[in-house]
Symmetry: C2
Subunit: 184 residues, 2 copies
DNA sequence: TCGATCATGTAATTGGTTACATGATTGC
DNA sequence: GCAATCATGTAACCAATTACATGATCGA
C-alpha cells in the first residue's frame, strides 16, 4: 500500500492537515509504517494537483498557515479502487533469515547468542504490543482491532518459529554430545 | 542485512565476479532478496576501494574482461562482525495488514474476496516453495536448510493467521444472520 | 526558562530499480 | 537464424529518510 492510499484512507473520515495526518498514523499505524513529513507534504501536493484532494488554507498568526486537505469524489473512488486492487505478494523478508543463511560462519555459541537475542527482542515487542491493548480497544474499529490481533498472532508465530530454529541449533551435530549420549 | 554483507557472505566461500554473484543469489537467495547489477557493481567497486575485497582482471576476447573479486582479511573480519551485530527489529509490515486497517470502507463481499484472494496467493507460494525442496536439500548447508524450513513455517503461519481473520469476517455482525439465528 | 506542541517545508542523501548500451560464443 | 549465456557498466529515475530552517504559544 503506497503512501497515497494511506493518506486517502485517513482523509476518508476527516479533513486534515499534513501535521494531523502524521500524528494520526503515528498513533494507529505505527506498528506497520512510519511516514515522515519529507514524504507526506510532497505527496499531498501531488495529490492536490491530481484532483484527489482539495486544500483550504486557514490563515494563522504565529505558526505557518494550516492547510486542511479534504478528499474529493475522485479521491474516494481512487481509494476504494486501490483497496480492492490485487495485493502484491508478500515476501517473508525477515532480517533474521538472512543471518541464518550465513550461520555456518559463526561458532555454535555465537549462533545461539544471536538467535536468542533476537527471540528476546521479539518477545519484548510482543509484551509491548500487548500492553497497548486497552488503547487499541478504545479507539479501533472492528477491522482495526482485527489488525491488532493479526499483529499479535504474527509475533507469537514468529517467536515460535524462531524457537524451533533455536532448538535445531541445540541439536548441534557435536562430537561431544554424541559421546555423552553413548555414555549415559 | 545490507548488500555489502550479503556479497561478502558469498565471497567467503569463493572468489567470484559480479555476474557470478548475481547468479548465486538468484538461486539460493531469491526467496528473500533480489539484487540487480545496478546495485552489485557499484557496491563491489566501493568495497574494493575500502579494502574489503581485491580484484583480479582476466583478459577476455569477446566478452568484457572478467573481474574476479576475492575477500581480504579485513573483509572477513567485517563480515563476521556484521553477522554478530544486533539484528534490527523486524516489523511485521504485511501488505495485507494495511488493507485490513481500512476494511471498514469495503462491502462485506469485497472484504471476503480480497482476503480470500490473498490467502490463495499465499497457498500458491507455499506450494511453490514446497516443490523446490529437492533442489534445496541437494545444495543447502545445514543452516540454509533451516532457512528453508523457517520460510515454509512462516508461510503456513501466515496462512493460518489470515484464515482466522477470514473466519472473523464471516462472523459479520449482520442483521440477516441474527434474524436467521433466531429463526432456527 | 525550557521543552512540548503546533505547523510548514526543502535539500541532501540513501539505496535501490529499470532500462539502456555493447558484443562474442554456444546450442537448438 | 535466434535465443540464451557470458560479462561489464552507466544513466535516469523512484521512494523514502534525515537533517535543517523557521517561529509562535503554552504549561510546568
Amino acid at each position: 500500500m503506497d503512501i497515497q492510499s494511506i493518506l486517502l484512507g485517513f482523509l476518508m473520515r476527516n479533513s486534515m492537515t499534513g501535521y494531523d495526518l502524521k500524528k494520526a498514523f503515528s498513533i494507529s499505524f505505527a506498528f506497520f509504517s512510519g511516514l515522515s513529513y519529507g514524504s507526506i507534504y510532497p505527496a499531498l501536493r501531488k495529490m492536490e494537483k491530481n484532483g484527489l484532494i482539495t486544500k483550504q488554507v486557514e490563515i494563522q498568526d504565529g505558526a505557518p498557515n494550516r492547510k486542511v486537505y479534504t478528499i474529493t469524489e475522485t479521491g474516494r473512488t481512487e481509494f476504494l479502487n486501490s483497496l480492492k486492487s490485487p495485493l502484491s505478494p508478500e515476501q517473508p523478508k525477515s532480517t533474521f533469515l538472512m543471518r541464518l543463511f550465513f550461520f555456518g560462519h559463526l561458532s555454535p555459541q555465537d549462533r545461539k547468542s544471536v538467535a536468542q537475542k533476537h527471540l528476546g527482542a521479539i518477545k519484548q515487542m510482543q509484551a509491548q504490543l500487548q500492553s497497548v491493548q486497552p488503547q487499541v480497544a478504545a479507539h479501533a474499529d472492528r477491522f482495526q482491532y482485527l489488525c491488532y490481533e493479526f499483529g499479535l498472532r504474527s509475533l507469537s508465530d514468529l517467536a515460535r518459529n524462531l524457537s524451533q530454529v533455536i532448538d535445531a541449533l541445540e541439536e548441534e551435530p557435536n562430537v561431544q554430545n554424541q559421546f555423552e549420549k553413548i555414555q549415559t
